[in-house]
């Protein structure tokens, strides 16, 4: 407990100082601007990655790896190739230039101005407002699970306590210094994850012995999982099996591709000063992804070896079937108290950096995107400030309620849900907006609506994971899903994203592009 108090105090003091620094910088804007600020590439990469990677990756996806094994390493590949290279080079550079040219400050605003559509901006804002709390709650649940295990308190108390900390941070000035604090938070995450990764391999007897032991555990995989395609923790699931579809389409592709449509990440490119900063920060971001998610997934799978060596049981069994408890129980059982406390601070840092960006997006989605554009028809009014606060408070409450009602083992699922929904709704319009001068307003509207609607329909009636949990399909049709295998295991994004792309192209070929003046302005620096 002493370690926890010491580490938390040091962490909070540094965070408060950095928030103050961020605030001071923003009030001396003139000098700051004219000096031509150049953000160090390490700083830019760390800020971006700490927003992108949260407790969900470490606890939720680490736990998923504890159940399904090292197949999750494909997600690390997508994290680096899609989440860094594609996001920075193919999306980031043009987002920066187009964002500045169109004077856009939020992701929905970029889409709205590119397509001259208040509807697009307002609709995008509403999607963020109503669905981002699901992802924010996943982040909170993950850290609360660790607190539950570490402090031996009920989960609900841990969730309420951490929500209070997060709310205080966000409402009392944390958002102003978001850029500076997220860098500090990212640095903690990287150092602690590297220590965790190395020590896990040491505990498991070194890399070769660890992998050998992991492959030897295949016969211990429960029969129920083997029947669904599980072939051991060092293997991919059997091709085409229910688990293969689940791991590949939801856990790997849903998050790996859906990251491109994440509003709180895309907006970060607009704050960059030049392409040079983007070029230079790429290797740092790639390294952070490799060391945080790569190690989280390796550690997740290897927990099976260590639990089996000590207790003769697999990780999921030790966690009582709750995937989200695998990493917390592993750290709590096998590490000294000082490291457990440090790990909790790391999770706090990961949760707060992501939550801050999420609540920031929620606030501006309601005020700037929905209220100002869709309701006030573009008029900037004094009430916007209060509406921003209402958006943030709504987001905090929605997140808290979801955190209390969502079932166990939900962290990775809720994250994949939000990434998939954003991917299907936003990616086609975003990509074509950046690259295709003849992209039309009607195409963007039709693509976004079809991506969103097909995603939701697939979740409610076909994808068993959600349709069973929600129960609407059972109420209307008397069964959990309308789809047979393998369709009921295929992630909504796999259906909705290609559909949204096709709709965009078809409608764009039949309708008029946006005005020449807007196109010229949007592509001015490209």
């Amino acid at each position: 407990m002493v370690y926890l108090i010491v580490f938390v105090s040091i962490y909070l003091l540094i965070t408060i100082y950095l928030s103050y620094l961020g605030y001071r910088r923003t009030v001396t804007v003139s000098d700051y601007l004219l000096a031509g600020r150049q953000v160090h590439p390490l700083v830019m990469a760390m800020g971006y990655v700490s927003t992108a990677i949260s407790t969900s990756a470490i606890i939720g996806f680490g736990g998923i790896s504890g159940v399904y094994g090292l197949s999750l390493l494909w997600l690390t590949f997508l994290n680096i190739f899609v989440g860094v290279w594609v996001a920075y080079v193919l999306f980031g550079k043009r987002t920066r230039k187009m964002g500045k040219a169109l004077d856009a400050h939020t992701f929905p605003e970029l889409l709205g101005r590119r397509y001259e559509s208040r509807f697009i901006q307002g609709f995008s804002g509403l999607v963020i407002l109503f669905f981002m709390p699901m992802y924010a709650s996943a982040v909170l649940i993950a850290v609360s699970r660790f607190v539950e295990v570490y402090l031996k308190i009920p989960f609900a108390s841990a969730l309420l306590g951490f929500s209070l900390i997060s709310a205080c941070y966000v409402l009392w000035g944390g958002l102003k210094g978001i850029f500076y604090t997220s860098v500090f938070q990212g640095a903690i995450m990287i150092v602690v994850m590297i220590i965790l990764g190395i020590s896990t391999y040491v505990l498991a007897g070194g890399p070769t012995e660890a992998h050998r032991s992991l492959s030897m555990l295949t016969p211990a995989v429960p029969e129920a999982l083997r029947e669904m395609g599980h072939r051991g923790f060092a293997s991919m699931p059997a091709f085409g099996s229910p688990i293969w579809w689940y791991v590949v389409t939801t856990m790997i592709m849903g998050v790996g591709i859906g990251v491109l449509g994440q509003p709180q990440l895309s907006v970060r490119f607009m704050t960059v000063k030049s392409d040079q900063e983007i070029h230079r920060s790429i290797p740092f971001a790639a390294f952070f992804y490799l060391s945080i998610t790569g190690l989280a997934f390796l550690v997740g799978a290897l927990t099976n070896v260590i639990f089996h060596n000590h207790f003769g049981r697999l990780a999921l069994d030790v966690a009582g079937g709750n995937i989200d408890k695998i990493i917390p129980l592993y750290v709590d059982h096998f590490y000294p108290p000082w490291f457990v406390a440090l790990f909790l601070v790391t999770l706090m840092a990961a949760a707060i950096s992501t939550n801050s960006a999420q609540f920031h997006s929620l606030g501006t989605a309601l005020s700037r995107d929905f209220f100002e554009q869709a309701l006030m028809r573009g008029r900037s009014v004094a009430e916007t400030t209060i509406v921003t606060r209402i958006g943030i408070v709504f987001g905090i409450f929605a997140t808290l309620i979801l955190g209390l009602v969502l079932p166990e083992g939900i962290v990775a699922i809720a994250t994949a849900f939000f990434f998939g929904l954003c991917g299907a709704t936003f990616i086609p319009s975003y990509l074509f907006g950046l690259y295709w001068r003849k992209a039309t307003k009607a195409a963007a509207r039709a693509s976004m609506l079809s991506g969103f609607a097909s995603s939701l329909t697939w979740m409610l009636f076909f994808h068993e994971q959600e349709s069973k949990a929600i129960g609407l399909c059972k109420a209307l049709a008397g069964r959990d899903t309308l789809a047979p295998l393998p369709w009921k295991m295929i992630d909504p994004q796999v259906i909705a994203l290609p559909l949204a792309f096709a709709v965009f192209v078809l409608v764009a070929l039949m309708t008029e592009p946006v005005s020449e003046e807007t196109v010229r302005k949007a592509f001015k620096h490209i």
């Binding site: 923003t26 804007v29 601007l33 004219l34 031509g36 094994g69 090292l70 197949s71 390493l73 690390t76 590949f77 994290n79 680096i80 190739f81 860094v84 290279w85 080079v89 550079k93 964002g99 500045k100 040219a101 004077d103 400050h105 009392w172 000035g173 958002l175 102003k176 890399p207 070769t208 992998h211 992991l214 492959s215 051991g232 060092a234 293997s235 991919m236 607009m270 704050t271 000063k273 030049s274 392409d275 040079q276 900063e277 983007i278 070029h279 230079r280 790429i282 290797p283 971001a285 790639a286 490799l290 606030g363 501006t364 005020s367 916007t384 400030t385 921003t388 606060r389 943030i392 620096h525």
Partner: protein, 70 residues
Amino acid sequence: MSCGMQSNSTMLKYLDFWVAIGLLAALLSFFFCILYSVMRWNKGFEEKHGDYKAEIQWEREEIELIERLP
């Protein structure tokens, strides 16, 4: 060098083919990112000497937006 490669292949031999490919793909994409960055390390700076007006306008509004946050 050959000793390092041997230890890597020993590490990988217990992994299924597609998992090993996934691990290698992650490492290769990381090295690709480094290579891409090194090749463009000094590129993309020239625009800073160009038109600042739009950027300054954008920054002003961004600051106003941040000021409205709690």
